[in-house]
Assembly symmetry: C2
Homo-oligomer: 148 residues x 2
DNA sequence: ACTATAATGCAACTTAGTTGCAATAATTTA
DNA sequence: TAAATTATTGCAACTAAGTTGCATTATAGT
């Protein structure tokens, strides 16, 4: 994606255009998998990103609904951007995330994101009385094509 | 649950019977929600549990398949025991966890566990080619009956 | 180009969890 | 029931991930 397109995305989310935001946005848009702070630092080594600035950049992306984050079992966070979310963004900031599944590979620990159908989950409904569900996420554990 | 029953459970999972394990097991069996290290420490204040010992106890429970843990968005872990898992325990140690949903209350941050039907998840299947799914977990976000 | 405001980068800090090791307690065997 | 064996406990020190405060620098609107 070219520089002007990236800038346009930032502006659509009411974010100022900065070097850090541009390169992080570009990387996340290209990545098929959700990335951790340290993966991003490594991938963007040439930019010599400051640790704190990167955390703040990622959190900003999440706050405005441009990216989303997943907590892993290793107690850190992975960040990802759905190109769908970027395209469907509306300016009323009602970003109730589109439902998605995260596939977690047991071999390489990578997390792949998949958009999924907006669908009911088949629970023992009696047990869920009184719980109002606003959003859901599905986590799949297994082996990814690369590791198989 | 009485002391003898608790001891019996520990023995079934090849764990030695100790004071710490008994009181933690008792608490988790009673709890409807998954509990964090600090919640457990508070609830069992009278026992003055050592921080490290409690972490090790919880991890041991998870390793042998007696309990399971959930990573939260606040990057800590919650621990829970399903009475079902305890009852269905087999001694071959093939504890592939039964599928379950976690309901995360946005208001009080409590996590409730629900067993769910062993069911296929309706994904855009084309996108999942090459990924072999061994286990899945569903996360529901919303408001619990207490906070509503 | 000037100004107001927001983002950046550094140091110090916090929080959750881990490691090493000596002391203690639980089970096995005699 | 006592001794021996082995696993668990408790303390101190440590690590890893992320946060806070603040001075400096860059962005966007006039």
């Amino acid at each position: 994606m070219n520089d002007e397109q990236l800038k346009q995305i930032l502006r659509e989310f009411d974010l100022k255009v900065t070097k850090v935001r541009l390169c992080v946005l570009d990387l996340l848009l290209q990545s098929r998998i959700a990335m951790s702070h340290s993966q991003i630092t490594d991938a963007l080594e040439a930019f010599e990103l400051d640790k704190v600035t990167l955390y703040r950049t990622l959190n900003t992306f999440v706050e405005v609904g441009l990216a989303h984050k997943v907590a892993t079992d290793e107690r850190n966070w992975l960040y990802a951007i759905y190109s769908e979310d970027v395209q469907q963004h509306n300016h009323q900031h009602e970003h109730h995330e589109s439902p998605h599944a995260h596939f977690i590979c047991e071999a390489c620990d990578k997390i792949y994101c998949f958009p999924i159908e907006e669908k009911q989950i088949d629970l023992k409904k009696a047990e869920l009385e009184g719980f109002s569900i606003k959003q859901h996420e599905i986590r799949l554990h297994g082996t990814c094509p690369v590791c198989k």
